[in-house]
Structure formats: C-alpha cells, structure tokens
Amino acid sequence: MSQGRVDRQPAYVLHAQPYRETSLLLDVLTREHGRIALVARGARRPRSDLRGVLLPFQPLLLAWFGKSEVRTLHTADWQGGVPQLSGLPLVCGFYLNELLIKLTARDDPHPETFGVYAEAVRGLASGGLLSSVLRRFELGLVRTLGYAPAFDVDSNGREVEPDVPYLCGPEQALQRWQGGPVPAQQQVIEGRILLAMAGGDFSELATRREARRLMRLFLGQLLGAQSLATRELLQSISALGD
C-alpha cells in the first residue's frame, strides 16, 4: 500500500473536472512532483468536505498514492491565507493556469515554477497591479522552463548598460543593437528596462509595456499554434470596459 505514497505535498489545483458519478479528476501543480493528475474519490458528493477544500488558487497540502499516471488523492489539507479570487483577478488566475497546463509537462518536477506560481496567486489575491503580477509570472515561467536569456549580460558576457538598446528575442542572448531593421521575432529594448525586468521590478509603465510585447514573443514561440482561451476572454472583457 505504501507504494508511490506521497505525504503533505504543497500543491495548487489548476483544473478540476467531473469524473464518474461522484469523483473529480484534478490537474494539480505540486512543489516537488511537478504537475500531476489526481482522482479525488467522492469529492462531488453533496456533503463532501473536499468540496470546500479542493478549490483552485488555494494553497493546499495534498497526500496521494498510486503508481499509474493518474494517482488517487488521499487527503487534502487547507493551508489558507489567500481569499478566493473573484472578478478580473480570477480571470487572470485562469490565465496562469492555462499557461501552466499548456507549457509544462506532467510529472516533471519544477520547484521554481511552483514558487513563481504561488507568488503570482498571492499577488492576484492581494489586489496588486494585475499587469505587473502577470508579467512577473510570465517571465518567471519562461525562465524556469529554460527559454529566457539573462537580461543583465549580453552575448559577449558584458554587463547590460542602462542607456544602450539591445536586440532581444527567444532562444538567444542579448545583442547590442547597431541600428537597422529589427528581425522578425525580435525586439529592441533599452538596457535600463532589461535591468528592471531582470530585477523583477515592473513598477514603471514602460517596463510593463515592453515586457508584455517581449513575453508575447516568447510565449508565442513556446505555444506554437495553440491559442490561449483565457487571453481571448480577458480581451473580450477589457473590450467591454472601453
């Protein structure tokens, strides 16, 4: 019975769907075991205590067992401290989850990704500036997946200078921009903005704008032909606001 048994693992539910008559099939992000699939038996029974616990965007401690691709949830403990997301922060939360589901492989441990996600969820719940939470998450995710270059040194190993423009794009080191046409899938960014991004400082509008464009390039490369349903939803909501 102790085969494949994991106890008290920090985790977040990314997605839940009904499974059989009374169970849930969960997609969870765990700290040390990566993204895994779990069956929560009986979680949809009317009086199941798991109903109020297995919620997305809530820090949980999960225990499970099983060796197959889909494990069985044993217990779920409430960690607390994060109010339920609602409104626009909730839509942004779905965006984080969709990115994780589409860009990370199952059973591939990424403790740093877990940390980046946990920080983003807390940021959304605490009423921080949404665009800065999203950019920090996107950059963190691309970085932990190994696709982002360093933003503080260029291709020659020299430190980035604030007043110099650099050519920046997926899967390549920064290059000083010498002028001329900008190649496709690349972008010219001022050194000081790159340094702010490297330090995780998205407090300035210019940094957020440039980071948004750049992250679109990176994520577009990683996602390939897949589109993001949550991005479309966010756009249709923000179109209403205008």
Partner: protein, 199 residues
C-alpha cells in the same frame, strides 16, 4: 467473435453519456436487450419525443415544449426581477426554496476558459436581450460558487454594468443552521473574509 453491427452501434451510442466508457456501455446494452426490453422501448420513445418536442423557452432559455415555458407565462410572477442560473436543476432548487417570485434566465452552462467554453457557448447574447427588455429592473446572479461560476458572474456583471439595472450576486458564507465546529475550512475562511457589518 464480433458483435452484430446493430449491437455495436447501440454500445457506441451509449458511450455519449458522460462517465460511460466502453465497459459500462456494453453492460447497459446487454441489460436493455436481455433483461428489460420494455424499458428499452420506453427509453427509445422518450428520447425520440424529447428530441422532437423540446426547445428552449424564448425568454428564459430553459427546456420547454412551448415557445414560452410555464414559469415565464405566469402573470403573477414579479416581472421586474431576473435571476440568472447555470442549469435547469438550479432553477428547480430555487423554486423549491420558495424564496423568490421573479423570473429566471438559464445559461445552460458556465464559462470555462480552460475547457474552451467561451462567452458564445453560454447564451450571453440571448441573456443581454432578455435583461435589457426595459421591464427588468434587477438582475440577481446565482451562478455557482466555483471558479467557473465566479468567472461567469464577473462576465455578466461587466456586460450589464452602466445599463441602469441593479445587479447583485447571491451571498456566500456559513450554511444556515451551520456550526463552526463542523464546517469545512474553505467555507469558514471565506465567511470570515466576506463578513458583514452589523448595525
């Protein structure tokens, strides 16, 4: 040994039901054909009839055999209140609770971006026409308190914002008659976060 084609067709037809895989479908098919042919006949006729007769009520979007469902056709209901629910089962529960005498709108689903269910799939266009008919004064959003239900509520609230309607969301918190000792942590935590002022 292969099954005759009509048996295979029945089995694969039963697999359209949620939660029914090949094994269960086969078990159901054998049961219907071997043990309960009269039941199978009733099932076939009921399906036929439902498919032929049921449409969506043109006002509230729930299942109905007439263009206007019984509830929408009742003149005694409060015509100024509109309560939005996800599914017909939710409407029935609200009716059972005998707490509301206005009218309903049934979305027949919820937004679920990760499953690819967007605004177009949950009849939001039809809802807008219904809510902005000039008679409705208050809209009560009673979608579920799941992440998907909350996103749906947010989207509806955004659509109906600045249209001169009172828009509200049903409350969430401790169950009626609930004791703190026995309630789950998530419910209790949220009840505290959403506490209200007294007096």
């Amino acid at each position: 040994m292969k099954n005759p084609p009509s048996l295979d067709q029945l089995i694969s037809a039963l697999k359209v039901l949620p939660g029914v895989g090949p094994k269960s479908a086969q078990r159901m098919a054998f049961h219907l054909l071997q043990r309960d042919q009269a039941g199978a006949d009733r099932l076939a006729r009921a399906l036929d009839r439902a498919l032929a007769n049921l449409t969506h009520c043109e006002r509230c979007n729930t299942f109905s055999e007439t263009p206007l469902c019984n509830l929408c056709a009742e003149p005694a209901r409060n015509q100024h209140q509109l309560c939005i629910v996800e599914m017909p089962a939710d409407l029935l529960m609200l009716e059972q609770a005998r707490c509301y005498d206005g009218l309903y709108f049934v979305l027949m689903g919820r937004l679920s971006p990760i499953d690819g269910i967007g605004p177009k799939d949950v009849n939001l266009d039809k809802l807008m026409v219904r809510a902005l008919d000039g008679v409705v004064e208050e809209v009560i959003i009673a979608t579920n308190f799941t992440a998907e239900g909350e996103v749906t509520a947010h989207m509806i609230a955004e659509l109906l914002k600045d249209r001169g309607l009172a828009v509200s969301r049903i409350a969430r918190g401790m169950p009626v008659g609930g004791e703190l000792e026995y309630v789950d942590s998530g419910t209790l935590a949220q009840a505290l976060y959403e506490r209200r002022q007294l007096g």
